[in-house]
C-alpha cells in the first residue's frame, strides 16, 4: 500500500479503467422514477426493516417494472421516434483475448496505454435503447438486449439461464478491470511503504473485501434488477465508476449510506458535513474524498469556504463519537477550535438585518459581545429598540431584552412588530400581548398613548418629562412575563454603560486579526527608526516588559564598555602623539613619559586588557555578564584625569557619535549592577534588543477630531501594529521583506544628518550615507512585495540637521548640489516669527523641503505614485506622535478615496502635501 491507495486521485480515475463503464449514468437516467417508489417499499418510513438493501431487491424490482410499464416504456421497445440528431455509438464485441490486460508493465517504461473507451454522450432524453444497455458497454450487448424483455415478463429460471451468459460476461469485464487494478497494486507494492498498508483506513483491497461481504451497492440493484442477490461474485473494484461526482449526479444515494463509498446503512456511524449535509462513514471521513484535513472543521473538501447550514450552528465545536474514535484528543481539540473560529463558519453579518439594515462586521461584533447578547442569533430580520433593549423578529412581539444603546442597525419602524393596538412604545406599535402586559402592570392604555420606555423600566408619555413609573418594578411581574412569553430583563443587562467603549475589551479570536493594520518601519542602522518605534511605544502608554528592559540594560552596559574602549584607544593615540611631539622638540629632555593622557599602572593593565578583549572578538562572551566585577574599576577609570582629558577632546573623534556622551557621562551609574534604565535611557539607547531582532507593538491611535466625526470614531476599530524590521543588514538582499505583504503602509526612516556623513564599505571605498540611504530606499520601494503600498518617508533627526546646516551646507552631498537656498540676504530670525503671519521658512525647513522633493521625484520615477514625507525628531515624543497621526490619516484618506472613487487624483496631489506642510508649520509655530 502506498500513498496512493487512500484517496484515489482524480487524474488516475479519469484515465484508468473507469471508462470501461461509461454507460452507467445513462442507464440510471433511464429509470429515474424507480428510486422514490423503491425507497417507499423498503419500509414504512424510518421504521422499516433495517437490512432491507438486498432483501428488497425482488419486490422492488417487480414493482418498478410495473411502474415502468405503466409509465409507457419498457426496456426493449423498438425505437420509432424521430431520427436522432447524433449517431449512436455502437459497442462492438470485443475479443477478451485481445484486451491487453495485466501484462506487467516494464518498470521504467513510459505511460501505459490502457484500453479506455470513451463514454457515451449522455442523451438529452431517455431513450429506451440506451437505457437497456447494460453497464458493460465494452461487451457486445445484443444478447443482453434480447434477454432483457424476457426477464421482464418471465422473471423465471429460464431467463436466468440466458442471463447467466451475460452475467458471466459482466463479471468477465469486471474481472478485467479488477486484474488491472490488481496489477496496479502488485506493482506499487514494490514501494517499501506497502508493508504499512494496514495503517490506511480505506484502501482498494479493503473495499473489495467489504463488497463481497455484506451489502451490495444499491446502484447495482437499479441496474440489474433481476439479479437476486450478490451471490455471483459480481464484485466491483473500487475504481469502477466510484467517483463521488458520478455518484452524486448519476445516482441517488441510498438513504443512510455513506456519500463516498456508498456503503453502510443509516445505523452505521457517520459524520455529516456542516455545509451540505453529506454524510461520510468512518472509513471515508478522513480521506480526500471526504473531509480530508478539515481546515474548517467538519466540511467536505468541496464545501471548504462556504458557509455552514444554520441548523448545524449548534453543532459547531461539539465533537462526535465517530471523530473521537478516529482521532486523538489533541487532534479533536485542534479541529474543534478551527471549526469554531474559522471565518467562514461564523455568522455572516450581512445575513442579519436589524431594523431593515444589514449589519457590518463591527456591528456584528458589538452585538455578540455586549453583556447581554440576543440568544441564539440566526440569520433573519430583526427589530431592535435601542432605548429599552427590546429585541425581536420582524413582525413579532419582543423576543428578549438585550443590552440597550447599541449602535446597531437602522432606525426602529412603527410597524416593526406588526402591532395593531395603536399604542406605541419608543415609536413602535406594540402587539396585543404587550398591551395585556401593560394593562397588568398598571400602565394606563386608554386613548392609544405613546410611551418612552428606557432600559431600566421607567416609562413616560411622549412629550412629557415626568417619569410615570416602572414597568418591571412590581414583584409579581417577574412571574407574569414568562406567562405571556414576554421577555424580562436579565440582571446583567442593567450595566449597560460603557458598552460602546469596546476598545478596552479584548477582541475575540476570530475578529482579532482582521481589524489590525500593520505599519512597517524600515530604516538602516542609525536612521532613527528604532527611536521612533520606542518613542511611539512609550507615548501610547505601553511600557517595556521586564525582559525588554533587561535586554536594553545589557545593551547599554555593553555599549558603555565599547565606548570606554574607544576612549582608551584614543587616549593611546593622544599619548603617543604628545610623546612623539615631545621627542621631536626636546630630544634630551628627561621629563619622562608623563603626559596628561597617561594612566596609573593599575588602570593601565585594565585598559590594556579591555582593548585586547575587544580586539580578540570575545567581547560579547565576557560582557556584560562580568560587569559587576569591573564596576569599581570603571568608576576609577572614568574619574581618572587622563580619560577626562580624552573625553574633552571627543569632538575630534569621528567614531564617537554625539549621542554616546549621554551615557558616557553617567557611566558610573550605568556600570552598577542594580542599574535600571529609565525611559529616557531606553529612548537614547541604540536599538531595541541585542539580537537585532524584529520588534512589534500594538497601538490604538486615537482619531483626531478634524477629519472624522465622533459618531464614526466609535465605530472604527483603529488598531495598528507598528513593526520595526531588523535594522542591521537591511542593505543586503532583503529576504524577509516578502513576509510583510500584508503591511498597510511602509514607513521609511532616513536621518537628515546623513548628508555629510560617510562610511567605509568592505572594499575601503568611502560612501556618503545619504547616497547609501537612497540606494536602500530605491531597493525597498521597487521591491515587488511593496508594489501597491503607501510609503511614508520620515526624515528624522531634524534638530541635529538644523544645527548641522550652519556648519556644513546641504550641497556638500553630491545628490543635493543643486540646492540654493533663497534666504541669503537676511538671516533667519527665530524669535520674531510669531508676529508676522507669513514668515519665511527657515533654512532648515527649506533644506528639508528640498530633500523631500528630491525623494518624491525619485519615488515618482520608480513607482509613478505619490510619496508622503514628514520630518521628525526621534527624541521628541510629540513630533513622533504627530508623525504617527499623519500615517493614520494617510490610511484614512486612501481608504476614503478608494471607496469614493471620483476625484482621487486631485485629492492625492493636494491634500497630503498640504498637511505635511501644516504639520510642519504647526510644529515650528
Amino acid at each position: 500500500m502506498t500513498w496512493i491507495g487512500l484517496p484515489a486521485p482524480p487524474s488516475q480515475l479519469n484515465s484508468s479503467p473507469v471508462g470501461v463503464f461509461p454507460s452507467l449514468p445513462p442507464s440510471h437516467s433511464g429509470v429515474p422514477s424507480t428510486s422514490p417508489p423503491r425507497s417507499l417499499l423498503v419500509g414504512p418510513g424510518w421504521g422499516g426493516p433495517p437490512f432491507a438493501a438486498s432483501h428488497s431487491c425482488l419486490p422492488s424490482s417487480a414493482e418498478t417494472e410495473a411502474e415502468v410499464e405503466a409509465s409507457g416504456y419498457s426496456f426493449a421497445a423498438v425505437y420509432d421516434g424521430p431520427p436522432l440528431p447524433y449517431s449512436l455509438p455502437r459497442a462492438l464485441p470485443i475479443d477478451v483475448e485481445c484486451i491487453p490486460f495485466a501484462a506487467l508493465a516494464p518498470v521504467t517504461a513510459g505511460p501505459v496505454s490502457l484500453p479506455v473507451v470513451d463514454p457515451l454522450p449522455a442523451p438529452k432524453k431517455p431513450t429506451p435503447i440506451l437505457s437497456s444497455a447494460s453497464p458493460t458497454s465494452v461487451i457486445g450487448n445484443h444478447a443482453a438486449v434480447a434477454a432483457a424483455p424476457d426477464s421482464d415478463t418471465l422473471g423465471s429460471d429460464g431467463s436466468r439461464e440466458i442471463l447467466s451468459s451475460e452475467t458471466a460476461d459482466v463479471s468477465g469485464t469486471v474481472g478485467f478491470s479488477d486484474e488491472l487494478g490488481g496489477a496496479h497494486d502488485r506493482l506499487s507494492t514494490e514501494s517499501p511503504l506497502s508493508s504499512h498498508a494496514s495503517t490506511f483506513r480505506s484502501c482498494a483491497s479493503e473495499i473489495e473485501e467489504d463488497d463481497e461481504s455484506s451489502d451490495t451497492p444499491d446502484r447495482r440493484a437499479t441496474i440489474v434488477t433481476f439479479q437476486e442477490s450478490g451471490q455471483s461474485n459480481y464484485s466491483t473494484s473500487p475504481a469502477v465508476g466510484a467517483t463521488p461526482v458520478a455518484n452524486s449526479e448519476g445516482l441517488r444515494i441510498k438513504k443512510g449510506a455513506c456519500y463516498c463509498c456508498l456503503r453502510g446503512n443509516r445505523f452505521t456511524e457517520k459524520e455529516s458535513c456542516l455545509a451540505c449535509g453529506a454524510k461520510y462513514c468512518g472509513r471515508c471521513v478522513l480521506t480526500a474524498m471526504g473531509m480530508g484535513s478539515m481546515p474548517e472543521g467538519r466540511k467536505c473538501i468541496s464545501c471548504i469556504g462556504s458557509p455552514i447550514l444554520e441548523s448545524n450552528r449548534e453543532r459547531l465545536g461539539k465533537s462526535s463519537r465517530l471523530l473521537k474514535r478516529l482521532l486523538s484528543d489533541l487532534e479533536i481539540e485542534l479541529l474543534m477550535e478551527a471549526e469554531k473560529n474559522c471565518e467562514s463558519n461564523q455568522l455572516r453579518p450581512e445575513d442579519i438585518r436589524v431594523n431593515g439594515k444589514s449589519l457590518n462586521l463591527e456591528e456584528m461584533f458589538l452585538l455578540q459581545s455586549c453583556p447581554c447578547p440576543p440568544p441564539k442569533l440566526k440569520p433573519g430580520y430583526y427589530w431592535y429598540d435601542k432605548l429599552s433593549g427590546y429585541w425581536g423578529k420582524e413582525g413579532h412581539k419582543p423576543n428578549s431584552i438585550i443590552t440597550a444603546h447599541l449602535n446597531v442597525g437602522g432606525h426602529l419602524k412603527v410597524n416593526a412588530s406588526k402591532g395593531n393596538t395603536g399604542i406605541q412604545i419608543n415609536g413602535r406599535e406594540i402587539t396585543k400581548v404587550e398591551m395585556k402586559m401593560l394593562k397588568l402592570s398598571g400602565v394606563p392604555c386608554a386613548g392609544n398613548p405613546h410611551y418612552w420606555l428606557s432600559a431600566d423600566g421607567t416609562y413616560m408619555e411622549e412629550g412629557q418629562k415626568n417619569v410615570k413609573g416602572k414597568i418591571w418594578g412590581k414583584r409579581h411581574m417577574k412571574l407574569l412575563f414568562p406567562l405571556l412569553s414576554l421577555p424580562f430583563p436579565s440582571k446583567n443587562s442593567k450595566c449597560c454603560e460603557e458598552v460602546n467603549n469596546f476598545m478596552k475589551r479584548p477582541l475575540p479570536d476570530n475578529l482579532n486579526k482582521k481589524a489590525i493594520q500593520k505599519l512597517l518601519l524600515i530604516g538602516s542602522d542609525g536612521s532613527g527608526a528604532t527611536t521612533v518605534f520606542k518613542q511611539a511605544k512609550l507615548f501610547y502608554g505601553l511600557s517595556f516588559s521586564e525582559k525588554e528592559c533587561q535586554d536594553i540594560k545589557i545593551m547599554i552596559q555593553t555599549s558603555i564598555y565599547r565606548d570606554l574602549a574607544l576612549l582608551l584607544e584614543c587616549r593611546e593615540w593622544f599619548e603617543e602623539e604628545i610623546l612623539t611631539e615631545r621627542r621631536g622638540n626636546m630630544q634630551f629632555d628627561s621629563s619622562g613619559d608623563e603626559t596628561d593622557f597617561s594612566l596609573v599602572p593599575q588602570l593601565k593593565s585594565f585598559a590594556d586588557w579591555l582593548l585586547k578583549v575587544i580586539a580578540s572578538g570575545k567581547f560579547e562572551a565576557i560582557f556584560p555578564a562580568s560587569s559587576r566585577e569591573y564596576a569599581t574599576l570603571v568608576r576609577e577609570l572614568w574619574k581618572d584625569s587622563a580619560i577626562q582629558a580624552t573625553y574633552k577632546r571627543r569632538s575630534e573623534l569621528q567614531l564617537l557619535p554625539a549621542i554616546r556622551s549621554y551615557f558616557l557621562e553617567r557611566v558610573i551609574d550605568i556600570s552598577r549592577d542594580n542599574y535600571e534604565p529609565s525611559n529616557v535611557d531606553i529612548i537614547n539607547a541604540d536599538g531595541i534588543n541585542c539580537s537585532n531582532g524584529i520588534a512589534s507593538t500594538e497601538l490604538q491611535l486615537p482619531c483626531t477630531g478634524s477629519s472624522i466625526d465622533d459618531h464614526e470614531q466609535l465605530q472604527t476599530i483603529s488598531r495598528y501594529q507598528l513593526i520595526r524590521g531588523p535594522y542591521k543588514g537591511t542593505g543586503e538582499n532583503c529576504k524577509w521583506l516578502d513576509m510583510f505583504e500584508d503591511a498597510r503602509m511602509v514607513i521609511f526612516c532616513i536621518a537628515l544628518t546623513d548628508y555629510d556623513e560617510y562610511y567605509k564599505d568592505t572594499s575601503d571605498a568611502v560612501i556618503n550615507k545619504m547616497i547609501e540611504s537612497r540606494r536602500l530606499f530605491e531597493s525597498i520601494v521597487s521591491h515587488p512585495t511593496f508594489e501597491e503600498k503607501d510609503f511614508l518617508l520620515i526624515l528624522s533627526k531634524f534638530d541635529l540637521f538644523e544645527q548641522k546646516l550652519d556648519i556644513t551646507p546641504l550641497s556638500s552631498c553630491e545628490w543635493f548640489d543643486n540646492f540654493h537656498p533663497l534666504v541669503s540676504r537676511c538671516p533667519p530670525q527665530r524669535n520674531n516669527t510669531s508676529c508676522s503671519g507669513t514668515r519665511e521658512a527657515t533654512k532648515a525647513e527649506q533644506a528639508f523641503h528640498y530633500v523631500a522633493k528630491e525623494f518624491k521625484t525619485l519615488f515618482q520615477s520608480i513607482t509613478g505614485r505619490k510619496l508622503y514625507v514628514t520630518h521628525a525628531n526621534g527624541l521628541d515624543s510629540d513630533s513622533v506622535n504627530a508623525t504617527l497621526q499623519y500615517a493614520r490619516e494617510i490610511i484614512y484618506w486612501t481608504e476614503e478615496w478608494s471607496l469614493g472613487g471620483g476625484n482621487v487624483e486631485s485629492m492625492y496631489s493636494t491634500e497630503p502635501s498640504s498637511t505635511s506642510h501644516s504639520l510642519l508649520t504647526e510644529k515650528n509655530a
Binding site: 484517496p7 506499487s188 514494490e190 517499501p192 478522513l286 539580537s691 531582532g693 542591521k728 513576509m739
Partner: protein, 378 residues
C-alpha cells in the same frame, strides 16, 4: 611598522589572493572537460520518462492561514511540521492529514522549522533572531505549547535550522548575521560559531544549511554572497572549502544521498551539483527562459530522491521541476499537474523513506506527492 605600511602590505596581499583565486578558477575550468550529463550521454544513458500520472498529489494539508515558509519530516516517516506566516507551527499526521499539534508562536515571522530526530520536539526560527524549541509532549498552556528552550545569540534573523541526525541535543542554525551556529539544545549554549569574525566565513546572510548524513560532522551552508561553504563542526575557525559558481543568492543547499556531493539552488534560477571533495561543479540544472521575460523564477528549495537520480526543485513561479540528475533534463513539472500549487513553492522535502514528497507553498497549503502506481521509489 607603521599603519600606512601595514595597509600597503594588506592591499598587496589581497591582490595576490585575488589573482591566485583567478588562476585557480581558470585551472579548474581547464580541468573540467565534461559534466555529468555530457558523460552520461556519451555512455548512452537516457533520461527517465515520466507520465503525468506517475507522481500524483495524494494529500492536501489545509489549515494554515498564512504563507507557508518551511516544513520538515520526522524520520519515522509520517509526521510533518510546517511553519507559516500566520504565526503557527502545525504538526501534521501526513497519513490522516490531521493536525496533531498547533503551536502559536511569540513572533509570527517564522522562517524555518525542524523536527528533532526523535520526533519529540520541534525547533523554529525567524525574524526574532532566536531559535525556539518546543517539546511536543509538554503540557498545553492557554491553547498553545509553551516554549521549552530559547537559543539566543544570533545577531540576525534565523533563516534555517536543522538537527544533527541522531543527536537530539545538537542543532545547527544559519542566520542573517553571516554565521552558522552549532547549539547544545539542553543547555542552550553555543558550542561553536562558524563564520562571522573569522575571515573565511560567509560575507552575507546564510540562508540554508544541510548536514551530511553519512558524516554528521560535515555540513554545508549556502549564503547571499552567492557561495556555498563546507564546514567541519570540529574546526569552527575556518570553512573547509568554498564553492563558487552561482550568480545569485544560494537559497538552498542539500546533500546528495551518498554524502559525497551536494546540490544548491539559487536566485539565478539554476540548481548546481558540486563535488564535496574536489570542489568542482559537476552539473548545472537550468531551464531556458524567454529572453523577453525578465522575471526569472528563483529556486527556493531542493530535495534529492533516495537514489539521487531525481532532483526536485521548487521555484518562485509555482513550478516544481523534477530533474533527472544524470541527464540534466526536466522529466516532470509538478506545477502542470492536477492539484498543483497556485503560488510560489517555498519549501519541499522528501520523507525519510523516499516514498513521498511534501511541498509547501505561499498558497497556504501543503501537498503530499507520491508515485502513482507501478513505479519503484527512485
Amino acid at each position: 611598522m607603521s599603519v600606512a605600511e601595514l595597509k600597503e602590505r594588506h592591499t598587496a596581499a589581497t591582490a595576490t589572493v585575488n589573482s591566485l583565486r583567478e588562476r585557480l578558477k581558470q585551472r579548474r575550468q581547464l580541468l573540467l572537460d565534461t559534466d555529468v550529463s555530457g558523460y552520461a550521454r556519451s555512455q548512452g544513458r537516457s533520461a527517465i520518462s515520466f507520465s503525468p500520472t506517475d507522481l500524483v498529489c495524494c494529500r492536501i494539508l489545509q489549515g494554515h492561514t498564512g504563507k507557508i515558509y518551511s516544513l520538515d519530516w520526522t524520520p519515522e516517516r509520517n509526521r510533518i511540521v510546517s511553519a507559516s506566516q500566520d504565526g503557527r507551527l502545525i504538526v501534521w499526521n501526513a497519513l490522516t492529514s490531521q493536525k496533531t499539534h498547533a503551536i502559536k508562536l511569540q513572533c509570527p515571522w517564522v522562517m524555518t522549522c525542524a523536527f528533532a530526530p526523535n520526533g519529540l520536539s520541534v525547533a523554529c526560527g525567524g525574524l526574532d533572531s532566536v531559535c525556539s524549541i518546543f517539546n511536543l509532549n509538554s503540557h498545553v498552556e492557554r491553547d498553545s505549547i509553551p516554549v521549552s528552550r530559547v537559543l539566543t545569540g544570533h545577531k540576525g534573523y534565523v533563516y534555517s535550522c536543522q538537527y544533527v541526525p541522531d543527536q537530539e541535543t545538537r542543532l545547527i542554525t544559519s542566520s542573517g548575521d553571516q554565521t552558522c551556529v552549532l547549539w547544545d539544545v539542553t543547555t542552550g549554549q553555543r558550542i561553536s560559531v562558524f563564520g562571522g569574525e573569522f575571515p573565511s566565513g560567509h560575507t552575507a546572510s546564510v540562508l540554508s544549511v544541510s548536514i551530511n548524513n553519512s558524516n554528521s560532522n560535515m555540513f554545508v551552508s549556502g549564503s547571499c554572497d552567492a557561495t556555498a561553504r563546507l564546514w567541519d563542526t570540529r574546526i569552527a575557525s575556518r570553512a573547509v572549502r568554498t564553492y563558487h559558481g552561482h550568480q545569485g543568492d544560494v537559497n538552498t543547499v542539500k546533500f546528495f544521498p551518498d554524502g559525497q556531493r551536494f546540490g544548491t539552488g539559487s536566485d539565478d534560477s539554476t540548481c548546481r551539483l558540486y563535488d564535496m571533495r574536489t570542489g568542482h561543479q559537476l552539473q548545472v540544472y537550468s531551464q531556458q527562459h524567454d529572453a523577453d521575460d525578465d522575471e526569472v523564477p528563483i529556486v527556493t528549495s531542493i530535495a534529492f530522491s533516495l537514489s539521487g537520480r531525481l532532483l526536485f526543485a521548487g521555484y518562485s513561479s509555482g513550478d516544481c521541476y523534477v530533474w533527472d540528475t544524470l541527464m540534466a533534463e526536466v522529466v516532470l513539472n509538478l506545477g502542470t499537474l492536477q492539484n498543483s500549487h497556485e503560488s510560489r513553492i517555498s519549501c519541499l522535502s522528501l520523507s525519510s523513506d523516499g516514498s513521498a514528497l511534501c511541498t509547501g507553498s505561499w498558497d497556504k497549503n501543503l501537498k503530499i506527492w507520491a508515485f502513482g502506481g507501478h513505479r519503484r521509489v527512485i
